[in-house]
Symmetry: C2
Subunit: 238 residues, 2 copies
């Protein structure tokens, strides 16, 4: 009740910009944040729960996406998150390895570069910037999913570079999520024999992100964070 | 004389395929190898010292480059090297960071993926595959040269993935070069106040690569190798 009153009396709610806010993690973030935050989604499709949408075309390059974002974004954002991501299987021998690298760049890397670039212009002085990596890639080489692995490694490296805060304030925090397999319908169906009981749902991750936005248990700048489900979902520093 | 006779009497010399064989390191490799090896260069411009050239267009994608390579390459190659590379300065805030990432992908990453892909088809059973990374990026975060750093990190990760040898033989070796600044005219001119006396020339690196091709002091599979100049050039495992 106290929190509701504080929000209700507040002249301007906190603001989140979600790159990839129509995907499984991004739409969970917008669902969790929407009651108390102003939310802006940048994605290939609209998210009707978001206050603002920047719908970009996969046929356009990231510079065009940036131009569209610059037309819509105003003021400063308390959280800027890239929840975009994509996965594919295939090794170096695959005839389509080159197009797989291009696809993984578009799905994983460019949204991260865009989030970082937008953060230099639109993050508040204490703003939190979140990128989305991969626990598997963080821990192991992944030759069977070469394009995915090398692109997620690049996301991890973008986070490390941003966390030097050359282009941000000393109070900004860059956090790289390195989740394990998410508990989504698609993942359960594609891995029917796996043990789903330990998989963390996107909603649970979104709730942790909301805590951070609310100033609670915010990981340190430069952290790589994964999520474990026991009775409850807990975060772990990698 | 003995070596010359051995080569002259040998029905088939050893064979090297150099991706980027017209660049500063690549042309040194072809100069050093050409007297005793058959050399094939794949690059945007011809190298007249090479026995064979596959001249590709920067306007075409890597799948097209691969198709051109498949038309020319025959048999097996004892060394497959990507000596391609490119550098640029610029941080996450740069308006052209997105096009810089694309350029660095084309200059550094796609040639490495192409070399790895071609190795699965054209490397001999004991063939050596060499990729070109960066000592600076291997050791540090490089936010001032973000696109370069994230793309060289990707090259390092490609090397780690290839060195699992999922798509190669147990006797193949993947070696990732992580040179410091090369002693080239361009580099000396662009960094006039630096101490050039410790910079290693591309020819010296090419001579080390030739030793490896000749079976001498070949680094272990999965090695990251740099070069130091004291009196002589020595290799160092990273």
């Amino acid at each position: 009740m106290a929190r509701f009153l504080r929000f209700w009396l507040s002249p301007s709610p906190q603001r989140a910009l979600v790159i990839g806010g129509s995907g499984s993690l991004g739409s969970s973030v917008i669902s969790v944040f929407k009651n108390h935050w102003e939310t802006t989604n940048l994605d290939f499709i609209e998210n009707k729960e978001a206050n603002y949408n920047i719908v970009v075309s996969p046929a356009d390059d990231t510079e065009k996406h940036l131009a569209q974002a610059n037309e819509v974004l105003k003021g400063k954002y308390d959280m800027i998150l890239s929840t975009a991501g994509g996965w594919c299987q295939g090794d170096i021998e695959s005839a389509n390895v080159f197009s797989q690298v291009e696809m993984m760049m578009r799905n994983n890397v460019y949204p991260s570069v865009l989030a970082g670039h937008l953060a230099t212009k639109y993050a508040t002085e204490t703003g939190i910037i979140v990128l989305s990596g991969s626990l598997l890639v963080f821990k192991e080489n992944t030759p069977s999913m070469l394009a995915y692995g090398i692109c997620k490694t690049m996301v991890h490296n973008i986070a490390l570079n941003l966390s030097t805060k050359q282009n941000l304030t000393s109070e900004n925090r860059i956090i790289c999520l390195v989740p394990d397999i998410l508990n989504t319908e698609v993942n359960r169906e594609s891995m029917p024999s796996a043990d789903h009981t330990k998989w963390v749902s996107p909603m649970k991750i979104a709730e942790k992100l909301y805590e951070w936005g609310d100033g609670k248990n915010v990981p340190e700048n430069g952290s790589f964070i994964t999520f474990k489900l026991d009775k409850d979902v807990t975060i772990e520093y990698m």
